[in-house]
Amino acid sequence: MKLLTHNMLQCHVKGVRNGYPLRIEAQQDGGRFEVEVREAEFSADFLRHILPRLDWAALLEAAKALGEVAVGLPDAPPTDAMMHDDAFLQTFHRILLEVTVVEGELVCPESERRFAVKNAVPNMLLHEDEV
């Protein structure tokens, strides 16, 4: 799971109103937590295109949960000047599109429902009584 994907994911359990953003935590059983950097094609245009759609606070919180591998984002959404600064764009690209949560869990802020991330795939399948 890339952080871009995480930025769009929300808890869709029936009756939940504010299932966003999902907290990123270690797996409850076994405490597994694994993060990798997986190369992705760089596009400055894409970063500028997607920026207005991001929830910046959610991205910051997610990056913080991943620790050192995702350090380098400003507290406020990047300015236009930053979005034309190559060094910043490279950092932004790495955090948004290359840093990958391989093992962990996503936790809904409202229902505390935990969704497992295994082999980089978040499992958002619902149980019968959650639909």
């Binding site: 799971m1 994911l9 929300q10 082999n119 958002m124 959650e130 639909v131």
Partner: protein
């Protein structure tokens, strides 16, 4: 050839072995390539050559996603089959995937994607695998959540294999009820073999550029 969804739920049909087989069969690869290329064409994305953010519903092992990557776009995929998704990760098809049942609604917040493609998946919604699975409800949850997570003015192109004209009608009607406009595009309608159905949906009106008010550009009266 009978179609896999007639046997049972996707999770059962696409177990590990079947998932690997499906991904390797070269005929499948070729068909998926053609269907995906056509679906991307029908998306009618702005021709600015810029990378877009797309959703692939029922992405399976990433065969369609690979073509989205090749077409120069970033994508997120969803599928119900864990085995298919694991192959997708192994093959590094370029997307970021999550496991979910489209009939439960998509787990994404509003205005996330510039478009959606789906290859050979939507007919699964009409299967009742579990006692609580009523096709109409599943279709409603799917299309409502799809409409919500698309950027206004964008499109979804869903290629599918209807079992009957009634099923095609049911799927199309559900999409319209969720707010989409658009309809069915049938390629090669006179050939039983080559005939293909694409549900082409528009999520609201395209973003309109509001013209400047007179005198607003600073020109003198």
């Amino acid at each position: 050839m009978s179609r896999p969804e007639l046997y049972g739920p996707a999770t059962v049909v696409y177990n590990k072995e079947a998932a690997a087989k499906y991904t390797d069969a070269s005929r499948n690869v070729e068909i998926q390539a053609k269907l995906t290329a056509r679906a991307i064409e029908l998306l009618a994305l702005p021709k600015d050559g810029k990378r877009k953010f797309l959703l692939d519903v029922g992405c399976g092992s990433g065969l369609s996603g690979e073509h989205i990557t090749e077409a120069g776009h970033t994508w997120v995929g969803t599928d119900i089959s864990e085995d298919m998704l694991n192959i997708c990760e192994e093959r590094e098809s370029g997307g970021s995937v999550c496991r979910s049942d489209m009939g439960d609604g998509l787990p994404f917040r509003s205005n996330s994607f510039d478009g959606c493609v789906s290859i050979s998946a939507v007919q699964w919604l009409c299967n009742a695998d579990r006692s609580c699975d009523v096709p109409k409800l599943r279709l409603k949850r799917f299309f409502t959540s799809l409409y919500r997570c698309l950027v206004r003015g964008s499109r979804a192109v869903l290629q599918f294999y209807p079992h009957s004209p009634e099923q095609a009608e049911l799927i199309t009607t559900s999409a319209m009820k969720a707010g989409f406009s658009g309809g069915l595009v049938v390629d090669y309608p006179n050939s039983t073999k080559a005939k293909k159905y694409y549900l082409v949906l528009m999520a609201g009106a395209p973003c309109m550029e509001v013209p400047l008010g007179e005198g607003a550009a600073g020109e003198a009266m």
